[in-house]
Subunit: 408 residues, 2 copies
Amino acid sequence: MKAIILGVGNELISGQTVDTNSAYLSRELGRRGIETLRHETVGDETAAIAGALSRAAAEAEIVLVTGGLGPTADDVTRYGLASVMGAELQLDGQCLREIEDFFQRRGKKMVLANRVQAMIPRGAEPMANAAGTAPGIVATLDGAEVFVMPGVPYEMRDMFESSVLPRLPAGDGVIVHHIVHTFGMGESDVGERIEDLMRAEGEVTIGTTVSEGMVSVRIIASAETIEVADRQVDDAVRKIRSRLGEVVVSEGDETMGEVIGKSLKDRRETLATAESCTGGMIGEMITAVPGSSEYYLGGAITYANEVKLQMLGVEKTDLEAHGAVSEQVAAAMARGCRERFGSDWAIGVTGIAGPTGQSPDKPLGLVYIALAGEGTTDVHRHVFGGSREIVRRRAALSALNHLRLAML
Amino acid sequence: MKAIILGVGNELISGQTVDTNSAYLSRELGRRGIETLRHETVGDETAAIAGALSRAAAEAEIVLVTGGLGPTADDVTRYGLASVMGAELQLDGQCLREIEDFFQRRGKKMVLANRVQAMIPRGAEPMANAAGTAPGIVATLDGAEVFVMPGVPYEMRDMFESSVLPRLPAGDGVIVHHIVHTFGMGESDVGERIEDLMRAEGEVTIGTTVSEGMVSVRIIASAETIEVADRQVDDAVRKIRSRLGEVVVSEGDETMGEVIGKSLKDRRETLATAESCTGGMIGEMITAVPGSSEYYLGGAITYANEVKLQMLGVEKTDLEAHGAVSEQVAAAMARGCRERFGSDWAIGVTGIAGPTGQSPDKPLGLVYIALAGEGTTDVHRHVFGGSREIVRRRAALSALNHLRLAML
């Protein structure tokens, strides 16, 4: 079973937007044993869309299309599909009612332009869109099943999971992808510890990638059945974990925030945060997890020095003697935070995210991370490389990682 | 002058890696007046690569290929190119010496596998790779210029800039991209107000896209000279701004956080934040901007109710009578925050981000946003759709947008 994935949009072929939909869809198809032959991306032009659709339908059994279903004049995917099907567009009454309902639920007025989103080629069927207005379209073309979805990633994913997946035929065997995330060790170090696993020939392929400051180990297993592939993945994970030890943070979609959350819940302990250079990013990562109110009490974003004194009880003498970016102030922030919020754990972070603010003895990227617990406060000094964004992200992840290690 | 961009790699068509090379190359070509017809991505298979190359060379004058030049057995782009050229591969002596030099400079041993990287189809030429081992290849195929570059993004960019750009023919004039970001109006509403501009035939193409909760208007101008294209863009921006008024937030790369920052600096005013459901995201957006310490004093992340009382002085009676997600509590959070931080403005946000926590009269996605200024506190009620992540992001952007509008 082969698939071809088409992206439609001028923003894609002009390079203004990076296409993430095709990679997502390939992964999802792979998990069901359906191999992707190729990705193709064309602009918002009826003839180009029709040409790509007819080539794809001739080569593959499944064609997934994303983009060009919006209400505006530049969205012409439905015209391309109708043209290659040799069918006219007609208004689907059920579709129109769903679009009207969508606007009514939000208390918004539906404009005339949205009516075009209920136009479906004769012989094709609409697919409901729970996350937005544009319904999808499913059609048969040259013996291939064609699924047209919106280009907005969360609408596309929602429709793929709820409407496309149940209609997909079963593939040949299965391909299972898995990923193990680590933190605190460089990619070449990680690679060296699992080099023999990466070189081994067989049904399991192992490689490393770096993304957003975490080094991850990718595992791909292909087998006849899901049980065999899962067992191959489990074997590989066990070996990788034994080589890498406590730098392994999580697997799959699990985030650092979720790992911390689980540990805190298990221990029935609570956390509060005091952030300077990360400006709320640590709180944001923690509260991205549903149910985080069970263990996260809250935090102080103490950007101005005055606020560090007032909200956290940092001593003016410490600020004056050592500066805001210092071991002493980080420790005082964490201790003050723990005391004022009444939490079991508190994190204090202060640093120089850049691009300015450094001094001879305090380089750009210098960050002190303090962790206050029952009776102890540990301070870690880091110097992170990279842009302001990268320094902040690494600082936030490192802070959570210190807490993770302390709870092991 | 038209181009087609081909990506080669199993990691791309399996979805393990998102292709960012094609978007980069499209942008670079566009800046030189060369239009990209389509992107295509195929796996590491000689026949698939040859097929894609021959289709592309028949349709476009320029074909840019990335990936599949490595030393391992799965890298077969050179074989695909040789096969479609009907030419045999031959060892290029100069190339081989450069690869040997590369290893010597790094003090590493060159393995035999790396010799294959010096194999070039007869009639083609190598392109030096300063950043890695794999030399590129330039060839003429069916009247098209074909440039083959490595897949590793930084090696590809280096080779594109140093070796491909100087060999690219001049395009037909220039293409300039620009983007205008809006917030607070749906895509169909925005589209309706500029429908005639979007439909107009001419040198300027205008379209809309939605990304991370913002609706953006894209402008593409093509002209003989950069001056003419820039003037076309300026004209289009003026028209778009006059149609859309105050929903226009910014242009180009400027973020909502930067717009807020500029206004606050101009007014010499300060801001503090009190966040519940957004958990620090608003602070994070504000402090992503270098120099934000000039106007941002800090914030309170008041996740637990107890913390709302203690840190912001919210009244227990308000919490009990109206609940934490209420107009009254949002207003009290903003007022308390403004008073305790001593800022000119304060934002208070409380809501139900989901996926649980709703009640019959308080649906998922319900968010109250309060803005406290000199003598006034305004509260806005929103019901956002989408996942926890999307509700939080929309709430954070809306909060900043209310502040932006209040400062207009």
